[in-house]
Symmetry: C2
Subunit: 407 residues, 2 copies
């Protein structure tokens, strides 16, 4: 890795480079009628901070014990929304504490809820960086629109989150295999049982120091997948392209079935032609030698059935910049995977997401057949090159506008 940092951009300089809510047409394919009103927002300048007392501070766990999403930092951010009180209230940073909810709160009955996943990384220069947070803000607002929940100005939330991270900065791990996972969450809290828009909501952000999503040996051996065409994650006319809680509950039963078969994740297929859509909670990439004999990196298109991943978008952007092989967003079917495999033209299959970054896939069980993939058999696989470049940006080995330093 390049150990010299090329250029330091100021915080405000980066802020000006970012323009949340303008990228939607290409990134998210928002429907025409959906609009964010950036003026209807809470403001960072109103932020109130109540720090934890010394006795409330938690001991920090060993990095080796982190796992994923098991430990949380000492503080959290909360912003309430009440239609009857004019909308968003002031944002507050408080000690980490339990939530108090009415038993009829809509989130508990009708899944009126959405979230985001972002990470803060401690760079080689000691600075903490967040990766492309404006993309998460755009997606969070898109999810809010589809859920009947209030939208906000993404930059205001980024600034509040940065302050939260800054307060809990000792929780950002010092080891490159780890990072601070950021979980913004928006829930509908109206205490009424009608299936309807929630006139009150709570946005909150919690922080969790995390290791890698997959265990070390899983990463070395590659992820194994169960592909069962009886199950469908998302469908046209649904919400599969929004990060809503309702996309996840139906997957847990199938994930359990995979685990019971000794497999790690589910490969979600769609349609009679059994298109690959996502793997577990990751976007999916196939690297192959195509029918023309050229190397090609393929990922399914943003057709409403898959989540518009930020790592997905970053990989596409990097690969296109490199211009070393063809890069396509198009349908991949199981028949195509089988054919490529049988002709030794499938080179790599890998997943991409904030939690796992880039994870090689080495095995698929499909229709009671075992398919071994050669993803890990190459000396310089492109999944590893992509992972290396992303980490160089995230951990500050190179300067890049995607890495957003916290003051």
């Amino acid at each position: 890795m390049v150990h010299l940092r090329r250029k330091i951009l100021s915080f405000s300089g980066l802020l000006n480079q970012l323009q949340p809510n303008v990228r939607w047409s290409s990134f998210l394919k928002i429907r025409d009628k959906e609009t964010v009103q950036p003026d209807r927002t809470f403001k960072y300048s109103d932020l109130s901070v109540r720090l934890a007392a010394p006795h409330q501070l938690q001991p920090k766990p060993n990095v080796s014990e982190l796992g994923f999403g098991k430990y949380f930092t000492d503080h959290m951010l909360k912003v309430f929304y009440y239609e009857a009180l004019g909308g968003w209230q002031i944002p507050e940073i408080t000690p980490f504490e339990n939530l108090v909810l009415h038993p009829a709160a809509k989130v508990l009955h009708y899944a009126v809820e959405l979230f985001e996943g972002m990470k803060a990384y401690r760079g080689i220069d000691g600075k903490i960086r967040v990766f492309r947070p404006e993309m998460n803000m755009d997606r969070m607002n898109a999810s809010a629109l589809r859920s009947g929940l209030p939208t906000f100005n993404g930059m205001e939330l980024i600034k509040c989150i940065n302050r939260l991270i800054s307060i809990d900065q000792e929780w950002v791990p010092h080891l490159e295999a780890s990072s601070l996972y950021i979980r913004p969450t928006l829930i509908g809290i109206d205490p009424t049982l009608g299936v309807a828009t929630s006139d009150s909501a709570m946005l909150y952000v919690i922080l969790s120091p995390v290791g890698s999503y997959f265990k070390h040996h899983e990463m070395n051996q590659g992820v194994s997948l169960l592909a069962d065409p009886r199950y469908t994650r998302a469908w046209p006319g649904g919400c599969g392209d929004r990060k809503m809680g309702s996309n996840y509950a139906p997957t847990i039963h199938v994930q359990k079935e995979a685990t019971e078969k000794g497999l790690q994740q589910v490969l979600w297929l769609y349609g009679e032609d059994r298109q690959l859509t996502e793997a577990g909670t990751m976007n999916i990439f196939l690297f192959c030698i195509n029918d023309q004999g050229d190397k090609e990196l393929i990922t399914p298109p943003l057709n409403g059935l898959i989540l518009p991943g930020i790592t997905r978008n970053s990989i596409l952007t990097l690969a296109k910049e490199w211009n070393q092989f063809k890069v396509s967003e198009r349908k991949i079917t199981m028949a195509e995977v089988c054919q490529l495999l049988s002709e030794n033209r499938l080179l790599e299959l890998f997943g991409a997401g904030t939690a796992c970054i880039v994870s090689p896939i080495s095995f698929i069980e499909y229709m009671d057949q075992s398919f071994y993939l050669p993803t890990l058999d190459h000396t310089e696989p492109i999944f590893r090159t992509l992972l290396k470049h992303l980490k160089e940006i995230q951990y500050g080995y190179v300067d890049h506008p995607w890495a957003f330093p916290i003051e």
Copy 2:
């Protein structure tokens, strides 16, 4: 209505008639591998009761102001489940109070949640009856299995709920247009961010005195529906046949669109042939003169795309007993609706559900066209006969094993 009650069955006699968890094969089409373990349950005999202090008791609202799910009674039932503590803990009745949840609780992120809807009615003899609660228990366990949440012995929960209703019996309205809505809810509360089965859960039950789901003039004029083939509620390989929170969040945005057009509910279509599946949160029934010139009552089949409604099941059972017209569970398409309408053979369209009981539908907007339905144009429509019979059972005008009196 028949004002004489024909026979009084004892509580224990009815208890013996009910056998939750044996009816599934026909009612719910549970998948082979899914099984409830009735021994792994909490027990009514362990129930602890902590009554509200006099100053905690709420004033009871006027029946005319009830609406749906806006007011709650003075007590609630709670049962926790902790895998690490051997499973289900003892059930508790406590004063109605807010829930305290960890901000990472799985219910708030991945919609690990499910619910049921039942009603208690105050009969003409002053007795309070619950309608077919064993069916709700079966369905609740079916939803739990699909959500990776723990199952329980349905009869134990029925007994706990009966005790709760008995404590809050003054909240059961004395007017026949109203009832006490019962909302059992089961949520996953593991405080970890992995998308996985929840090892801890909370089952709780709240009670809400309710008026009719639709406003009086809406019932008189019939419900109006928006049918927009761009949106899909459920799909094969999904969870549309379970009462999971994740089925509802994606509908709210579409419901809002209907409301903005001045329409009350969404008619959910499925597939290229635009099958009618559900209307709002109701099952749907079509009464017509079929191609053979005979009267026929049709409802979509339990093919995984619709909720196995208890009112639906009751209507089918009653109509088959009457044997006055053909009763079918089969696909209905929008093309069929349009053709029947144009040939004056569509007699009635109505929704059925616990919240609305039986609600006539008088209008559909479909592909920018207006379809007026003659549901309310008949002197003795069958929807009204069905509603009358169901109410006679629910309010104790006749003795029937479906109405389950609370001691």
